[in-house]
Symmetry: C2
Subunit: 344 residues, 2 copies
């Protein structure tokens, strides 16, 4: 009790039973142990303050209680919301969550995945769209396969196409619904902050939006689509660029909320009013950003729930065969950042 560790052997000795029996009592194996011995062992464990050595257990069982969570940037509220859901789910099951931040670097992702493999992690949950770059995708797939071969489970949020169970927002339909809503308000000319060209999520939202416009017989001018980083600052910068070049759009769609936030800041700095001079819409409905003024029209995704469901996919019993895909719909939330275009 002083400074060293209490081992199961000490507990067994103190209880006057064998190591095997003590182990059976403490972890409740398939084997029966008489009530009398069980009480003695438990009492000894309690008295000595026994705490199992997790690495010894992992080694013996060849399976640990670790679950990995890989995100691009934990300080981004999109990821931290999902992370909250995953954490909850893991903790309910008595598992320990390992957090890896990849900063969108495939290399870091590989490192973390290897570390999880080396710890015999039970499962890993990959959050956030990867690039559409073939080569790094192939490497990622290789890592995932290796992880599963060693008995780990894998689930993804927001990146269908990987060989794993997936929870994915319906980016295409959500963006299309948003486009229809905005067209319904009377907008005809749109500008889009489309994020990085090689990011799947960004691309799907762009395509969905674009598709709905086409279906409504509207064009999307090429110069009204600007690409940039998927971040608040990316949105700010893209908006400045857009406005510097000049645009005839009456409504600006940023493919995620943090970019939309940057856009609103840029417009404010340029002396433009939202929605009077330009309507703005985003995507995700980040909880922390719900208090922006004007309130941001966006597509709501149940982020925390998505994290939870992904974790459940990865942790609940095995599902044989192909990979399950859960598609969660987005819901258009109209707020004050969009309004009918003013005649001009």
């Amino acid at each position: 009790m002083d400074s060293g560790y209490v081992t199961l052997e000490q507990v067994a000795e103190h209880a006057g039973v064998s190591l095997a029996t003590a182990s059976r009592v403490i972890n409740g194996s398939t084997r029966q142990v008489s009530q009398r011995l069980r009480d003695k062992v438990n009492a000894s464990a309690e008295e000595l303050g026994y705490l199992a050595n997790a690495s010894a257990q992992t080694l013996a069982r060849n399976s640990s209680s670790l679950v990995g969570l890989l995100v691009h940037d934990i300080s981004d509220p999109y990821f931290s919301s999902i992370a909250a859901g995953v954490t909850r789910c893991a903790e309910e099951r008595g598992l320990v969550l390992v957090l890896g931040s990849t900063n969108r670097s495939a290399q870091k992702e590989g490192r973390v995945l290897a570390a999880l493999r080396s710890h015999r992690a039970k499962a890993v949950i990959l959050v956030g769209s990867r690039s559409t770059d073939e080569e790094s995708n192939a490497r990622l797939i290789g890592e995932i396969e290796a992880f599963r071969r060693q008995g780990g489970r894998v689930a993804c949020v927001s990146q269908p196409g990987l060989p794993a169970d997936t929870v994915s927002p319906d980016n295409h339909s959500g963006a299309a619904a948003l486009a229809r809503h905005l067209v319904g308000l009377g907008h005809r000319r749109f500008a889009i902050l489309a994020g990085p060209t090689d990011l799947r999520t960004a691309r799907e939202r762009l395509d969905g939006f674009h598709g709905a416009l086409s279906a409504a017989g509207l064009e999307l001018a090429h110069h009204n689509v600007v690409h940039g980083a998927f971040t608040r600052d990316g949105g700010y910068e893209s908006t400045r660029r857009l406005m510097t070049l000049g645009t005839d759009a009456t409504c600006l769609f940023a493919v995620n909320d943090v970019m939309a936030t940057g856009a609103m800041a840029a417009l404010r700095d340029l002396g433009m009013r939202v929605p009077d001079d330009l309507s703005v819409a985003g995507f995700d409905d980040i909880p922390t950003l719900r208090d922006l003024t004007p309130g941001l029209t966006t597509v709501r995704l149940p982020l925390e729930e998505m994290g939870e469901r992904a974790a459940a996919l990865a942790l609940d019993e095995d599902h044989q065969g192909g990979h399950r895909v859960i598609t969660v719909p987005g819901e258009v939330v109209a707020r004050e950042s969009t309004a009918p275009p003013t005649a001009s």
Copy 2:
């Protein structure tokens, strides 16, 4: 390579050396190994795709590469910003970060701490003010002592008084400086959303603010101090309560930014304009909330840096003797949510 694991023994055999030598090569122990053998071992490891079994290493070394991070709620941007700093620091050192969410429950905190202990985690970083409740504090201190006895390091963010190295914002001075700034604007009557009564951070900010007012010869009416949850919704609700009872204050100070956000939302819902009808100030300068309009006057804390410094305290070499305390100053950031009071 197919599905099983490659063990060090296989690598050794493949390289034609002993297990001991292989181990020495791979982890670079103090012992020398000739260049010839070293090359052979490395080549074999590479060829077989060797990946060390982390739990076996932990068991043998009795020390793992895990670092714990305990926060109340990872989806709160205050915590996720700090977490980003901690993650960075841990990853730089090749360590694996374990994230525990406690939801302000001392019991959960204990569970996570025990799990970390059982994994022989190298260090743990506790973020966020604990309650001032004596009993749960005592239990926490007990857990911390146990953790250190087993060779773990502990660092805290924002909770001096625990037996560990600490990075702590200067809540008192920051709040005082803010108060002086607001008095300088001309405010004389203040209302305070003071958060929970038993939360150390909340209390220090309240005290600092109050102290500066007293020093300026101003009173703080009792009915102008309302307590509530330390969250956005707590701020909203507290503000509604305050306004329902009526207040003569010209400026509202919420002891953190998320509460201030809730306050602004409540005021908006009540049809009051900020800062025209009431000035609002917060504390923390959460990055995600910088885009609120009107911009929130607040006290800036370098959250990510605080996380990094705490991690560094916990991870860099041992410091004998007492516990180090790093106090980081806050800086008043004046934005549009505060203005001189209008004559009324």
